[in-house]
Amino acid sequence: MPTFKDFEHKKKKSFVSGPSEQLSLSKDLSSNIEMIRKAMGYASDILVREFTLASDIEEKAAVIAMSGLSKNDLINEQILGSLMLDARFKDANSTRDLFEQIKKYGMPNINVKEEVNVVNAVNELITGNSVLFLNGMDKALIVGSHGWNERQVSQPITENVIRGPRDSFTENIESNIALIRRRIKSPDLRVDSIKAGTQTKTDISIVYLSGIANENVVDEVKNRLKRIEIDAILESGYIEELIEDNPISPFPMIEHSERPDKVSAAVLEGRVAILVDTTPFVLMVPTVFFQFLQSADDYYERYLIGSLTRVVRIISYFISVVLPALYIALTSFHQEMIPTSLALSLAASREGVPFPSIGEVLLMEVIFEIMREAGLRLPQQTGQAVSIVGGLVIGQAAVQAGIVSQAMVIIVALTGISSFAIPAFNAAGSGRLLRFPLILLASVFGLPGILAGLSIILIHMSGLRSFGVNYLEPFVSTDSYVLKDTVIRAPWWSVLQYPGFITGRRLRRMRAGMKPGPAAGSRKNSDNE
């Protein structure tokens, strides 16, 4: 059984840059190459090119790079080309002098530095940079050459909008940062980077707008990121789980997005974006629950339509959590609440159904979840078949066979569709999760049971905080001006301030009195004349 001490030991060993293994480079070229190869375990994807410099002192040299991680064109042109074909290093009288000259004139590359340590050289190598050794020098030149095949910027897959930009983040952190910088051309946009993951050495960058973001939040994000010690980070989900405030809550505590415009908007609001290399999903903190019900569309459409869609989403979230439970409560506890003719036709539709309505609901909900999961993982062409089989065959047949009532099929379908109407998949998931305890409570206590369940959920939510911000802000907030961007989206010219619960103080966002209108325009014209 591994003890804590064992773990300590292993941890030290697995750190490549651990202080115990500070190996320096030697002056011998072939031993340097051997050291690198050995450190990499004689991996087959190391490229080594040995050559002789075109200079007075015919000195041997070698370039080492990783195949696939570095751009071969760049190495050929900027390293091999300039050293082998160009004969500029004529005055060099020693190897050291030659090395300095190469560094000065011989490397037409933006990212060149010296390195004396084998381990560091290997670390550079595995991120895709090239290492240049010169025989007789105990230093190496690291030349920035990383570049690999990657996905182009394409349409976002998980967050579609009707109106709005069509680009999305890719797996490359640098181009992701660039996508944000393209939108926010301000020197106040800060990008701080950190590496995490002992094996993966994943780049993590936090992006925020200095002067608007709450300094406490920025510091807190940095601190939480610094305490991560894990072997691998493959997706931003790892980071999310490692830094969130309440790990056992069913509600997502950190919002993510693959849309650069959404992330930029968040940064502009004073939030902190956390970008992780190798994933297009960017985290944004602090997060409040209501953000999960907002979509980028709301801001691009005119505000009336934006407000309408938000109301629709709130209703659909409520439906997706409560509707099956409410159906049980009404049909098996509070039949007096249903209008008479509806009650009678509900009774008629349940005539001959063998299960109690709780059994019916659970059965249908489970079937629905299975169908959803099946459809999600399948290729698109087969996915359609699943929906036909699921929707038509099972739904129709189950009703005709008298296993479930028609009303129940409507309820379950409505619940399912409502949960699809929520833009954030993780928030919709919380609704799906909470539905089942509510169904059980409703089946025992009816409406009071639902009330008890809902109040536990709401109490839990009011107790949550994400990076110091209450999860239910701005509904439980003290300032009413922040309510302008919640259930309704007030027009841009009326949202004069940054949301105070994020920035931590009241900041002006725009000039007041920008409400447009014919009078405003004509006055301007007359001024000109």
Binding site: Q335, R350, S443
Partner: protein, 390 residues
Amino acid sequence: MRKIFLILTLFLLFFQAGCWNAREINELAFVLSVALDKTDNGFKVTAQIAKTETYSKTPTGGASSAVKEKPFWLVSSTGKSIFEAVRNMAAVSSRRIFWSHIKVIIMSEELAKGNLQEIFDFFSRNPELRFRTWVAVTQGEAGKILDVVPIMEKDPSLNIEKIIEKTNLTGKACGIMLKDFLEKYMDHYTNPVASRIVLTTQGDKTVVKLDGAAVFGSKKMAGWLNENETRGYLWVTNKISGSVRVINCPYDGLPVTLEIKKGKTNIKSTITNGIPQFTITAETSAKITEKACLTEFRDPQSLHGLEEVLASAIRKDIESTVTAAQNFDSDFLDFSSVLHRAHKTEWNTLSANWPQLFSKSEVKIHVKARIPEVSLLAKSLVPIEASGEK
């Protein structure tokens, strides 16, 4: 982990303990109306229960089309108390009798003249029942009213409910909800009025008809109101708007039908020598909807004559109601609350012998009638003679 386990156990515990109140909707027998009759030693309760299959879009079982069955089920049982009788229904009904959707309570005259207190105790004590139920009284056996298959509706209760909701169209009947009935009943000085429901035949079909009203005294039913008296009651209680009134034309005696567009009544009280006096002022604006007489009412003078006739007809209606009330010794016109409102201090002394004072009190009636509307026609529908001018 332990927390989750605890919650799970609690859940299962609740689940195991059973769903105390849960009853599936298809295991209920929805009572839509209830009729109460008197038997030798208690009550006979007749419940009209809706058949759910008549509400289903896809009828199950083809056999039912061959034999035309009634779309509802009447179940009746007897007991010493109403609740016992209701519980006795369980002996014949496979489904739980469910009262929340009850629309109308119909009492037989015999019962209404007996013990009211017990009936309304049951209906107001039970949390399943609702206060917006209509209350009606019938002559003869109440259970028979519910046995009439309506022509337009699926079952008799909805039929009766709709009829009661439309009483203001005829102005010859009234409806009262349980909550208002209770209020009047609970008030020591005022008394309730309920709908009177009767069976008549139209062609070869028996139909339910709303006609007149039943007046209650302080403890039991006092008597009936006929159509005119009911109309007067509606006038005094401001419920007349929308009804029609047929009067005879003052010039040639042929009938003119007027629709009462707006009727508003005000009661004022004065006290002279310890005897209260009431002045009822009714204002109305009516509309000619049909006339057989040939008088041209474009002439303001002749229209005024018609208004006079309408006013006197209304006065007569109200007078008849007041007389009936004083005869029955039943203050269903709310005179006592008028007096209470207007003479707060005197009321304390007067209230002790209100019943005697009520029958002694003098009632003056003023009616102001206007006919500002004549429908679409500008003149009478009389063929124009070509040589009329000569």
